[in-house]
């Protein structure tokens, strides 16, 4: 049952002045409404929604990012090049393998290093683990409660114990995939610039493979569950930007920059041609635009729109069952695309483990730098394309850094979606509570990672 339109959410009792509403007049044309959500819940980090309507017209609309500024780009300066992934993974607990991956790739580009095939395989396996972990967390813990009309996953432990146990089982498997490669999921240990300091034992890989195969049943159940939910309808002409690995696989680890409005590939080293940043006062995270549109979207739906033909057949089958077809311009279907990718990651991880077992893993010496210079790297982390760029001085210390975070790239686009959504909700005669819930659901559909987004910056290269 879809609880999204039931308007059953009670205003939250809180020590903070959280939600405030005044509503006067009758009928949309006369309507004055104020929506203030302080600290949107079930998202990573601190964000506020503010909407003012006067006579039915939007006079003010903001997704304010009130996360503390953290200054990672600044304090990377002066640290040794080898520390970059271990520092930047601390930007975010949810995406720490993703930051590690973009960081090692950028640093290897800056230092002229080419890592072994085995290193790339191990990184990809950890990366699949994190996609799984993040998507399962978002789908079950952050998004599903809206559809079942509850405030969190906790009451579901009583009302739907099988659903919660399934979610926990899949999350645990995802964490174990990361741990077998990197030692742990949050802030992985063994993934370094130049190579890995740990090689998984065959028996650990075989055990993982067995559990991944068993997870297919859980995936099928998950697809059935989501095929019964009806996300709100919102369509808006949107540019979807992602990496694309034209000759290879569905882009997570590698690729060039493409979009639904410009399919010509731009290499990651020239990312500034496709991503233009600006500082806005209501957000400690910068906003981004592209050369083609004032706002654009990144994330699972962007990847699906650009790369769906490269999905594993099982994932394409799931998309069919879920009714997801490219091009899709409903941001609420980012959840659906995440689920399709979850299927892809499980199947791809199984194939990758098979390849590792056939090949045999052995301890390798890390690759050494061949030069000190400047380089960029990117990866398609759970919330979209992530760029890291570093400059390393001749003393081996980091001299400059630039990090462009998926959530930062989405913020302006979320605001545009809200602008499109509010008048339609007024027209449909929604109450203030219904509008608030749908705006929060929209923000959650993007699965924002606000801690991540508040550390990027303008860089003046020294």
């Amino acid at each position: 049952m879809c609880g999204a339109n039931r308007g059953c959410l009670e205003p939250v009792a809180d020590g903070y002045p959280v939600r405030r509403a005044d509503r006067t007049g009758c009928g949309a044309a006369m309507m004055n409404v104020t929506i203030d959500v302080k600290h949107v819940t079930r998202v990573e980090g601190h964000g506020n929604i503010a909407v003012r309507l006067r006579d039915g017209k939007i006079t003010h609309l903001q997704l304010a990012i009130v996360e503390s500024p953290r200054f990672f780009e600044a304090f990377l300066r002066g640290r040794h090049w080898s520390e970059a992934p271990h520092i930047t993974c601390r930007i975010c607990g949810i995406c720490s393998v993703g930051h590690t991956t973009a960081s090692v790739k950028a640093m290897e580009a800056a230092l002229g290093m080419t890592v072994s095939e085995q290193t790339v395989m191990l990184r990809k396996l950890a990366f699949f683990g994190e996609q799984l972990q993040s998507h399962v967390l978002h789908l079950y813990f952050l998004a599903v409660p809206d559809f079942l009309g509850v405030g969190s996953v906790i009451p579901l432990a009583k009302s739907h114990p099988d659903v919660v146990k399934r979610a926990l089982r899949m999350k645990r498997l995802a964490n174990d995939v990361c741990s077998v490669v990197g030692g742990r999921h949050i802030h992985p240990i063994a993934l370094h610039v130049g190579g890995c300091t740990h090689v998984p034992a065959d028996e650990d890989l075989i055990d993982l493979k067995r559990r991944l195969e068993a997870a297919r049943a859980d995936l099928n159940e998950t697809v059935s569950l989501f095929s019964m939910l009806s996300p709100p309808e919102l369509h808006r002409d949107t540019e979807y930007v992602s990496l694309k690995d034209a000759a290879g696989e569905y882009a997570f680890y590698d690729g060039d920059i493409v979009s639904t409005k410009d399919a010509r590939p731009t290499p990651v080293s020239r990312y500034r041609e496709r991503v233009i940043e600006s500082v806005v006062q209501h957000s400690a995270a910068k906003h981004c635009r592209s050369p083609h549109a004032p706002t654009y979207a990144v994330g699972a739906l962007a990847r699906f729109n650009n790369n769906h033909a490269q999905l594993h057949p099982a994932a394409r089958g799931a998309a069919e069952v879920l009714g997801l077809r490219a091009p899709c311009d409903n941001p609420f279907h980012n959840n659906t695309a995440q689920l399709v990718e979850t299927v892809h990651c499980v199947e791809s991880a199984i194939e990758l483990i098979d390849a590792m077992l056939r090949r045999g893993l052995r301890a390798e010496r890390p690759v050494e730098p061949t030069r000190f210079g400047r380089g960029a790297g990117a990866a398609e982390v759970p919330r979209g394309v992530l760029f890291h760029e570093y400059e390393v001085g001749r003393d081996g210390k980091i001299a400059g850094a630039n990090l462009i975070i998926p959530t930062g790239q989405n913020l302006a686009n979320i605001e545009e979606d809200m602008r499109a959504m509010v008048p339609r909700m007024i027209e449909a005669g929604k109450t203030r509570e219904e509008m608030t819930l749908q705006l929060e659901m929209l923000v959650r559909a993007y699965d924002p990672c606000i801690s991540c987004a508040t550390h990027f910056l303008e860089v003046e290269w020294q």
Partner: protein
């Protein structure tokens, strides 16, 4: 009645809050024993009658300062989780930018002393740096009284479960008072310090089961110093065995808690 639990985040990656969700196998047991009443990252409801509050993140903005006092006022027991909340964590690295060579100088720069906006703020936000308020990064114990600390980056999940059990049955909880090396030897990992790598295992508080050396990486000291004396002994050893300047080693040790420099000789 089940104890009411809250989980809060200040300036951090929220990885320690996430680590609670990553308890997975034990999460349902935990939910059977306690009632989570306030957890922004995971739930919509937010209540303020709280028995035990867990806080990750450092105090690094005027807002953090206000919030942590609010948490303290509403929690009977307050627990700092992770290196940011316990030691200031990786956030303290900003103090060493803008020519701040010591903790106090760095803190003064962070505060924008002498009417200046610290250089690192301009580096990130350009000419609009003043829009984004920041203060020196501090452990929460620098602002409010803290009842328990669970250091580590991220915190150790098993230690969290242990503390919750102790609180439930009223048993005292103590952090280990031995160095990471003790656990590393017990685990049988190869000694990185003996291989010439400056591993902080000898001076760092145990409790992580020496996980980093077990995965081939040096201990970076994320759980903080095991005792103030340890570093003096390590300084002598580093000089004599490896001819390493203690200042260089200290720069590395700042990674997870420059705030500890108060402990240093």
């Amino acid at each position: 009645m089940k104890p009411k639990i809250a989980i809060f985040s200040l300036t951090s990656c929220e990885g320690c809050s996430l680590a609670i969700l990553e308890l997975e196998d034990q999460l349902l047991d935990l939910l059977g024993a306690v009632e989570i009443v306030n957890f922004r990252e995971g739930m919509t409801e937010r209540a303020w009658d709280i028995d035990v509050g867990f806080v990750d993140g450092a105090v690094s903005t005027p807002q953090d300062d206000e919030e942590v006092r609010h948490f303290r006022a509403h929690c009977k027991t307050l627990v700092a989780i992770g290196s940011c909340a316990c030691l200031g964590g990786i956030n303290t690295l900003k103090h060493y930018q803008s020519g701040g060579a010591t903790r106090d100088e760095g803190a003064a720069h962070a505060a924008g002393g002498n009417g200046r906006v610290a250089e690192y703020r301009r580096y990130v936000y350009g000419e609009n740096a003043e829009w984004f308020a920041t203060t020196p990064a501090r452990p929460i114990s620098a602002v409010v009284a803290v009842d328990y600390q669970l250091p580590g980056c991220p915190m150790v999940k098993e230690e969290f479960v242990e503390l919750v059990k102790c609180l439930l049955i009223g048993k005292p909880f103590r952090l280990p008072e031995t160095a990471v090396c003790v656990e590393c030897k017990r685990r049988g990992s190869r000694c990185l310090y003996e291989m010439g790598i400056i591993c902080f295992g000898p001076i760092t508080r145990a409790g992580c089961n020496a996980i980093c050396p077990a995965y081939g990486s040096k201990c970076e000291g994320c759980r903080g110093l095991v005792s103030p004396d340890a570093i003096a002994a390590a300084g002598i050893n580093l000089r004599e065995q490896y001819r390493v300047d203690l200042n260089e080693a200290l720069a590395d040790l700042r990674l997870y808690g420059a705030y500890q420099e108060a402990l240093l000789p």
